[in-house]
Symmetry: C2
Subunit: 403 residues, 2 copies
C-alpha cells in the first residue's frame, strides 16, 4: 500500500482522485501495490464529495507524515506550489506535478533537490496534457541527437485557428464562442498570446539538450493578429496556420520561438485540429516522430499525473529523471534566425515593382481580395526581413513559414 | 564503460553499430557511461568494415564473457535467436531485440527468464520500428484501462495502399514498383498477407492486457484483394483504406484482427501515408492518443534498439519490464465480433431488391462503375454478415468499416 497526497482539488486535482479511484485495480497491478489517497489539500470545503473526510487545510499534515511517499501538486501558479514541492522533496517524498509554470521556472532546481534526496520529481502532465512526451523523451528518444521539436502545444488556440479556417470566422468571434464553450478562459491572454506554449517549448527544449532554457528569452508571438483572409492565402499554399512552439539546432546553438506559422499538408502537424495537441520530434537517426492526443482536459491530464505517480512507486529509492541541469542553454539571437515569410501588402501605385526591388524576384499571389497583394519571400534572417519590411509601405501582416 | 555485443550484422544490426558510433557522445551522457561494442556476431565476413576486428562467429565468445552486460539480437527469425537470447538472459546479460517473431512467439517466456535473473529483455524496435510505443505503453499509459489499440503497423502495405489511392493503380503494379524501390521483399507474403502486422498487434495486445495473445489465433486478412475501384467508393464515404492491426475489449473479452478497413477522415490514422506507421491507443481516462513515425528502416529501427540498450544500462540490476504473463489471453470468437461492412456486388436483375430483403433498408451507392452496385451494412456480427452474404449473388468484395 502506497500512500499519496493530492495538493489542490481543482480541475486536474479532482481528476487525479477520479482516475485513482476509478482505475484502482489496474493501477495497483501496474504499480505493484495499491495506492491510497491519504490527504487532499485545499483551502475550500467540498461537502458531500468523495474526499470530504481526507481533506486538510494544513500542508504540514502532509510534509510531516512519514507515511506519504508521493505528493501530487495540482494547485497551479508558482506560490506556494514551489515551496510545497521543494519541502516535500527535501522530506524524501516524490513529487508529481501538472504545473508548467513551476517546471519552466524552477524545474532545474527541483530536479536537483529530488536527486539529492534520492526521490523523483516528475511532470509528464506539464506539457501536452495526456500525451506521453516527457517520459518518451527521457527514456525512448535517447539514442538520437534531437534536431527539431515542434509542437502544437495549446488546445485553445488550436481550436480557435481550426474554426477560423473551417468557418472563415474572425478571431474575436471564435474566441467568444470558445469562451462560451469553456474552451477558453475569460482572460485568454496566456493562451492567445502564446505564453502557455512558450513555457511548454522551454520545458521540451531543456529536456532535449540537457540545459535550462529561460522561457523569458524565447521570442513569443500570439494569434490575435491572424485573420480569416490569412487562411485563404494559406490554402493556396497547400498549407494551414498553426500556433507552434518550436526549437531546432543551428551550428550548435538553439533557435526557439512561439509563433503562428504556415504548415504545409506534407507535415504531420497539418492534420492536428481542434483541441488536439501534437509534438513532432526529429532525431538524427530516428527521423520523424510525432506524439498526438488531448493536450488538456481534466481526465487526460490527470491520467498523465497518475502515470507519474505509478512511476514513483515503481522506482522507490531510485532517481530516474535526469532532466536538465541549471547550466543556461544559450539561444541564438532571434534576429539571426532564418526562415521564409508570407507577407500581405496594401495595393498602391507601383507596389509590385517596389516589392521586387526590395525582396527580389518574388511571385505575387492574387487571391481576389480587393485592395491588397501578397507574396512569399526567400529564406532570410529575421533581422534582414525586418529591414526590408521597413522599405515596403502598407504591410498588412506577415506570417512565418515552416517550409 | 559498458560493453555490449551485437548478434547479427544485417540491416538493423549494422544500423545499431552506426547509431552507437555516430551518437557516441550523447548516448554516453544519457546512459551515464560510455558504451563499447566488444563483439559483433555474424557468420559472414565484412572486410574493411568498422567491425572487422570485433567480428566473431562464436556465440560462446559472447555468452561466456562476463564483461558483456547487454546483447543486441538483430539476427531475425526464431532459431537460433531464441536459444541465444535465452542463454544470454540466463547468463545474467540484458537482451534487446528488434525481432517481432521472437517476441510474439516467446516473449512471455523470455520476460520471465529475464525477471528470474534480474536483467531486462527489451523489444522497443519489434513494433513500429523507430516509433516509441512499447516503453510508453509500459510506463506512460499505465493509469488507463486500454479500450482500443489500432495500428498501421506495416510500412510496405501502407506504401502500396497510399499509391493505389493516389494514382488509381492496381495492387500488382504498385507491388512491383515497391519491390523495385526496395520497399517490398521479393517474397512479399509476410507483408501483404498481414502476417507481419499480426505479430505486432499480438505484442501490443499482450502488453495492454498483461496476458499472452497467441498470434496464430488472430483473424488475419491481407490487402491482395483491394482494388483501385475500392478507393473510389472509399473517397465517397470520406474515407480511405488502411491495413490495420486492431484490438479492443467487448464485455471483458479481447477482439483482435488484422484486415484492411475503411478509415474516415476524422480518425487520426487517416492521414498516415506512405511508409509511415502509427499506433492509435484509446484509454478510458486519457481518451485518444497516437504515436507516429517511421515504422521500419535501418536507422529508425536501430535508434529504438539503442534506446533499449541505454535503458538496460540505466537499470542495472533492476528488472523494469513487467510485460505479460504466460497466461493465455482469451479472444472473443471472431465470428461473434461486430462491425459494419462495405460491399460491392455485380449488377443483376432485381439485385437492389434482393440486397434490401436480406440486409434491410440500405442505401445503394452509385459511383458510375459499370456493371456493379455497392452498399454499406448496419453493424452486425461476422457470422451474421457471412450468412447474409451467401444469399446475395455476385459479391465482388467486402471491406470492413472502422466507423
Amino acid at each position: 500500500m502506497s500512500k499519496v497526497a493530492v495538493m489542490g482539488y481543482g480541475t486536474v486535482g479532482s481528476g487525479v482522485v477520479e482516475v485513482l479511484l476509478n482505475n484502482r485495480e489496474v493501477i495497483a497491478k501496474r504499480a505493484g501495490e495499491d495506492i491510497e489517497i491519504k490527504y487532499v489539500l485545499d483551502l475550500r470545503e467540498f461537502p458531500g464529495s468523495p474526499i470530504e473526510n481526507i481533506l486538510t487545510k494544513e500542508f504540514n499534515d502532509i510534509v510531516n507524515d512519514p507515511e506519504i511517499e508521493t505528493v501530487v501538486e495540482t494547485m497551479g501558479g508558482l506560490h506556494p506550489a514551489y515551496e510545497f514541492v521543494k519541502a516535500c522533496l527535501e522530506a524524501g517524498k516524490n513529487a508529481c506535478t501538472s504545473n508548467k509554470e513551476l517546471v519552466a521556472k524552477h524545474g532545474d532546481e527541483l530536479l536537483k533537490v529530488a536527486k539529492e534526496h534520492n526521490v523523483n520529481f516528475l511532470f509528464e502532465a506539464s506539457v501536452g496534457g495526456g500525451i506521453p512526451i516527457i517520459r518518451p523523451m527521457k527514456s525512448s528518444l535517447t539514442a538520437d541527437v534531437i534536431e527539431e521539436i515542434t509542437g502544437i502545444l495549446n488546445g485553445t488556440t488550436n481550436y480557435i485557428l481550426t474554426k477560423m479556417r473551417d468557418n472563415g470566422s474572425a478571431f474575436e468571434d471564435v474566441l467568444k464562442e470558445a469562451q462560451d464553450l469553456g474552451y477558453a478562459e475569460r482572460n485568454p491572454e496566456a493562451d492567445v498570446e502564446g505564453y502557455d506554449a512558450c513555457r511548454k517549448i522551454a520545458i521540451l527544449t531543456s529536456l532535449a539538450y540537457g540545459k535550462k532554457v529561460d522561457f523569458e528569452e524565447i521570442y513569443t508571438e500570439g494569434i490575435t493578429k491572424i485573420t480569416a483572409e490569412d487562411f485563404i492565402y494559406a490554402k493556396n499554399l497547400d498549407a494551414t496556420i498553426k500556433l507552434v512552439g518550436t526549437s531546432h539546432i543551428v551550428d550548435g546553438k538553439v533557435v526557439a520561438m512561439v509563433a503562428p506559422v504556415l504548415i504545409r499538408s506534407d507535415n504531420p502537424l497539418y492534420s492536428v485540429d481542434d483541441v488536439f495537441n501534437a509534438i513532432y520530434v526529429r532525431g538524427n537517426m530516428l527521423g520523424d516522430a510525432m506524439f498526438y492526443g488531448k493536450g488538456a482536459g481534466k481526465l487526460p491530464t490527470a491520467s498523465a499525473v497518475v502515470s507519474d505517480v505509478i512511476e514513483t512507486i515503481k522506482h522507490k529509492g531510485i532517481n530516474v529523471m535526469s532532466g536538465w541541469s541549471s547550466d543556461k542553454q544559450e539561444l541564438l539571437d532571434f534576429a539571426d534566425s532564418s526562415r521564409r515569410f508570407f507577407v500581405r501588402v496594401k495595393e498602391s501605385e507601383g507596389i509590385v515593382e517596389k516589392i521586387m526591388s526590395v525582396f527580389g524576384n518574388i511571385e505575387p499571389m492574387d487571391m481576389g481580395i480587393a485592395g491588397e497583394c501578397a507574396f512569399v519571400t526567400t529564406e532570410m534572417s529575421e533581422k534582414e526581413f525586418n529591414e526590408k519590411k521597413e522599405q515596403i509601405p502598407g504591410i498588412i501582416t506577415r506570417i512565418r513559414l515552416s517550409f
